[in-house]
Symmetry: D2
Subunit: 374 residues, 4 copies
Amino acid sequence: MAHSRQIGIGIIGGGYMGKAHAVAMQAVGPVFDPKLRPRCEMIATTSAAGAADKARHFGFLRSTGDWRELVADPKVEAVVIASPQGTHQEIALAAFALGKPVFCEKPLGRNLAESRAMLAAAEASGVVHMTGFNYIRTPASQLARQIVAAGEIGEITYFRGEHTEDFLADPATPVSWRCHGRAHGAMGDLAPHMLNGALALAGPIHALIADIETVHRQRPGPDGPEEVTNDDQGHLLCRFESGAMGALHFSRVATGRKMGYAYEITGTKGAIRFDQEDQNALWLYQGSARADRQGFTKILTGPDHPDYLPFCQGPGHGTGYQDQIIIEARDFLHAIETGQPVWPTFADGMRVNQLVEAAFRSASGQCWIDVATV
Amino acid sequence: MAHSRQIGIGIIGGGYMGKAHAVAMQAVGPVFDPKLRPRCEMIATTSAAGAADKARHFGFLRSTGDWRELVADPKVEAVVIASPQGTHQEIALAAFALGKPVFCEKPLGRNLAESRAMLAAAEASGVVHMTGFNYIRTPASQLARQIVAAGEIGEITYFRGEHTEDFLADPATPVSWRCHGRAHGAMGDLAPHMLNGALALAGPIHALIADIETVHRQRPGPDGPEEVTNDDQGHLLCRFESGAMGALHFSRVATGRKMGYAYEITGTKGAIRFDQEDQNALWLYQGSARADRQGFTKILTGPDHPDYLPFCQGPGHGTGYQDQIIIEARDFLHAIETGQPVWPTFADGMRVNQLVEAAFRSASGQCWIDVATV
Amino acid sequence: MAHSRQIGIGIIGGGYMGKAHAVAMQAVGPVFDPKLRPRCEMIATTSAAGAADKARHFGFLRSTGDWRELVADPKVEAVVIASPQGTHQEIALAAFALGKPVFCEKPLGRNLAESRAMLAAAEASGVVHMTGFNYIRTPASQLARQIVAAGEIGEITYFRGEHTEDFLADPATPVSWRCHGRAHGAMGDLAPHMLNGALALAGPIHALIADIETVHRQRPGPDGPEEVTNDDQGHLLCRFESGAMGALHFSRVATGRKMGYAYEITGTKGAIRFDQEDQNALWLYQGSARADRQGFTKILTGPDHPDYLPFCQGPGHGTGYQDQIIIEARDFLHAIETGQPVWPTFADGMRVNQLVEAAFRSASGQCWIDVATV
Amino acid sequence: MAHSRQIGIGIIGGGYMGKAHAVAMQAVGPVFDPKLRPRCEMIATTSAAGAADKARHFGFLRSTGDWRELVADPKVEAVVIASPQGTHQEIALAAFALGKPVFCEKPLGRNLAESRAMLAAAEASGVVHMTGFNYIRTPASQLARQIVAAGEIGEITYFRGEHTEDFLADPATPVSWRCHGRAHGAMGDLAPHMLNGALALAGPIHALIADIETVHRQRPGPDGPEEVTNDDQGHLLCRFESGAMGALHFSRVATGRKMGYAYEITGTKGAIRFDQEDQNALWLYQGSARADRQGFTKILTGPDHPDYLPFCQGPGHGTGYQDQIIIEARDFLHAIETGQPVWPTFADGMRVNQLVEAAFRSASGQCWIDVATV
């Protein structure tokens, strides 16, 4: 029997996210049976030896210590960028120049200018481009989007979102690369997921005012205390274009929070609550229920919800982090196969950078800022 | 056998809060065995007949349709103000003029000016004055205050608070007195509890920026749509004097929220979470726990926690709304007996009005505001 | 102004439960405005001096160190028995002999024989008799009963109940009176509440098989280790007369459980979950909801639910342990006023003792037992 | 660079579980980097065409409509049995006869006799044998086992377990193959997971008494009502060899329960709670905590816990159902590579069948039964 059509995939990056995408490319076929199947062609890391080991580990055919080689390789037909943020722009532009579809991890560029350049290149190339916002792809958050879109909770009147973790909560945690560069701070690195989530769930943000700070300004270094030069936490008030009010909070010093990607959406007819720490449940309040039976319903995701069944037939049996990446792979492949744009594109990735930029400007000027002016 | 020393109590107001205080005055003796015992002397409502019925219902000796009569009555030795906000100032000033201790429901005055006048009169009188912020008096929230004060969660780095309910979430709910007057809006009426909570838990607020709005600008009236002239929801970013960042949200249109007096306190060494909808639990994260046993601990209040044992010997058996009012009555009586000020005094009530005023000014000017300048 | 009709109440017992009933008698008037009002006439404890102090503390007019005096006093028109279990029968019989209504704390008698004798005396007297099962009177559990009775969850197919606490979980806890006598063990003292709950929620129990044990057979005494002569935990499988299967568990050594009065009721159309540790919430699953919106709904009790509004106008604001006792007082007074029996009567109390007796016989014989034969 | 050593895997079964194991075999390499790597050699289903399609979908090299061909194929070096229970014995015996390691889904055999025969064949073959109990392999349940084994909760005094779902709760659900044959009933099909869990967490079970029933005795068939000939639910009391009491419940008619694999373990020093519906959290109560800070701690699984890190670096980011199967694949491969037995072997699978058999005998005789006599 003829196999499905294949496409050679090249992944750049052999760390945490490189591995996640490698697993996803190996699993997406058996999980989703996509028409276009990935062939794990090549992986690039920063050294030839390291890349070879990753290729062996992840089951890739070839490897390289030079991402340029990967991008240029004729058997690499699509590129997944899972390398540090500082490399995203250069790689993406090189791939687009060769007409190769690109999946790029968030945040798209290190800053708004880079993201705009990447978007321009993507659009000029005419090929598929996709940004990696995985958390919004859980069955639960996809369900939330469906409920909102169907008007089940009415008009949104308030949106509260956060992405809070505590990996730098302890001031005794030594300084590292995470402590330098805006792109690695709470606003640059954590905020993008929930900013994208806010846009996906409540629509475009019109204006905002932000406050951003470095809580622990010094951390132990090898030779004594060193300065931390980026932010530990930030938060903002905003207005969506719909008129809804919003509040967002991002932190890497939120003691006790491990995966605080969480939101509450209040509407005129209902409300939704979600917390990634219990990612298989969505809480829904339906104002139409009879008064003495009202309350938040804990909906356990299952085969009746988006993208759940391919992972499991039983409701409540649960999906996990890795499954989100497999869903992304399915969407990337489908976009390439059909030539249709896939949400979130680089435009969506750029809009998140725009909001981060707006937040920094607002915090600096201590004033409301119109996002469109950024 | 000699009974305890008694004091004649007069309650002004026969509605929801008047009843709560009447029950509290009947129950506080058997619950707490205070040295100074209340004698339920007189109740005042807006009509002689109504007051007489309330006196019968609540077990008060006498009644009046004129609060002035109550205040002036020589057997009324302390006054509880549980009448509409517009009456607070006049009553309090009359009581203080006669040297009678006053317990006044929140919000103290309709606005900052009134609250300042009330505080001045209170201080001039030299008698006990107390503001009714009941939610912060649950065993769980008292425990939270103890934990913070003991430094168990380290320095506070973030405070998030809300007081959200949904009694006006439905735009079809008819217009009422709640829809007019700043003192009856979300900021005027709901915010004070959590503003006081924020001050009690995280200390003074230095500066803030707020956004406030009326979500449903018209509601059905007897003769067609009518304007709503006060706010449905508001929120703000703030900085505490400690430097900690804070965010607060207040709403009467928070669909699904019934008693959303809730807070999260993040510190350098731990964190606390509380939601009044499950008022008998406090969630505590202790960063000092070994890494693979860390998490939020759900502490059920019990006899080991503040003000629980007099209500019940068994942990987890639970206290409720009415019990908070009984705790207030105990504190008011104790303050009168000892002549010592009782937290929260009118000064604490005034500070809450100051924050509400600051929030309105900030929202109007769309800028950060230094609270001390208000 | 005419006061409501009064009845002189005598309470026997000045401990935990005596206090709870004393507070309830002081508060029930202002809370519920019953037609028949209690007059706190007399309290009896085991010493005249102690009783006098309790009378002062609880606000009772008179006191005695001899319960017989209280029962015989002509101004004591109804008797509340809140003294140790060993005294219940004698007091109740004395009160009934004088035609005085009796409220008796659970468990009714120390054993089935006593309870039957008490029931016989109660029925012979023709006056009101009531057993104190307070937990089933929360608004949430009353709502559960309504939901079941209305057929909202269909036919019950499974009932799981427990009453688990941990006050003797630590084997180092010294021996006390709780460690001797069947009536003070887990089956005698804790089981009655949930046995009554099971009967109230799922109907009569037809047959059962039980296992009962003493986990910690010795505890420290003043002069070295002492034997524990009653049970620490027990559990049973049962069949209700409806055919439904049931499982019940009772323990005083359930480490971590503070107030584990909890049940799950599974029906053909829905299900209910409740845990007294969060007594203001009832979890309801409605099978009729559309498939992709199903889940357990957390209903916060409020004014739309039974016996909530008199305590508070706001949903989610919560009632507590003491409020349950006030609800009992209201029912006792109402029964006396109307002459109508009040659930749970002594017959209901006796049925609980019958189940405890059946459980011990079953455990002893290691066999199923038909409850009707006990 | 040399690839790792490979082993040819044959999977029998192309349904729900066949797919899960196929995905696992594709993903286990990149996830865990095992020394022995699976080569997805062949898949067998009941038709050649169907198998060919599954091979294409799942990425297997070859396929067959006859499992015998797969077992006999020299390139198939290990066999995964994911076909219906009625086929397990014959396949396993054929594989063992050829000296091929076998992973067999639960329940091992249709009954105790089959399981014993399978175990005997496994032991005679000297090759690796493993039973598929996936739920106990979550990071959370592995952590529970560690905590118990380390004595952190002291001696176990009570174990409560359930595996409850509601896929047949509605009596209108049509009759199917699930409605016939003991092996497909609640006791035969659902109970094994939690029976295995109970053994893993609390040790061997000494004696039990069970009650089992068919709740809905008829279901719609194509030509009218048809009989249901196996059980809908069962439950049992038991004693572990340690002396601990236990209670277990299994149901396919537990309305509202989607993945009710849940347990509570009470010990003398602490307690554990777990529910598969929130599989990324383990609740731990530590009796050693100071009295006023005690409570159940919600531990979110993370890199500090067993088998989590290979899926994700971030705590609280979560694993899901499919990941459990990948963990099983890792263990199966590791056992083959090292020649060391892997828990749970066929002996563990047999012990579960023994308990099921004991439960049926107990229910039939309405008496306690010594498991060793079965």
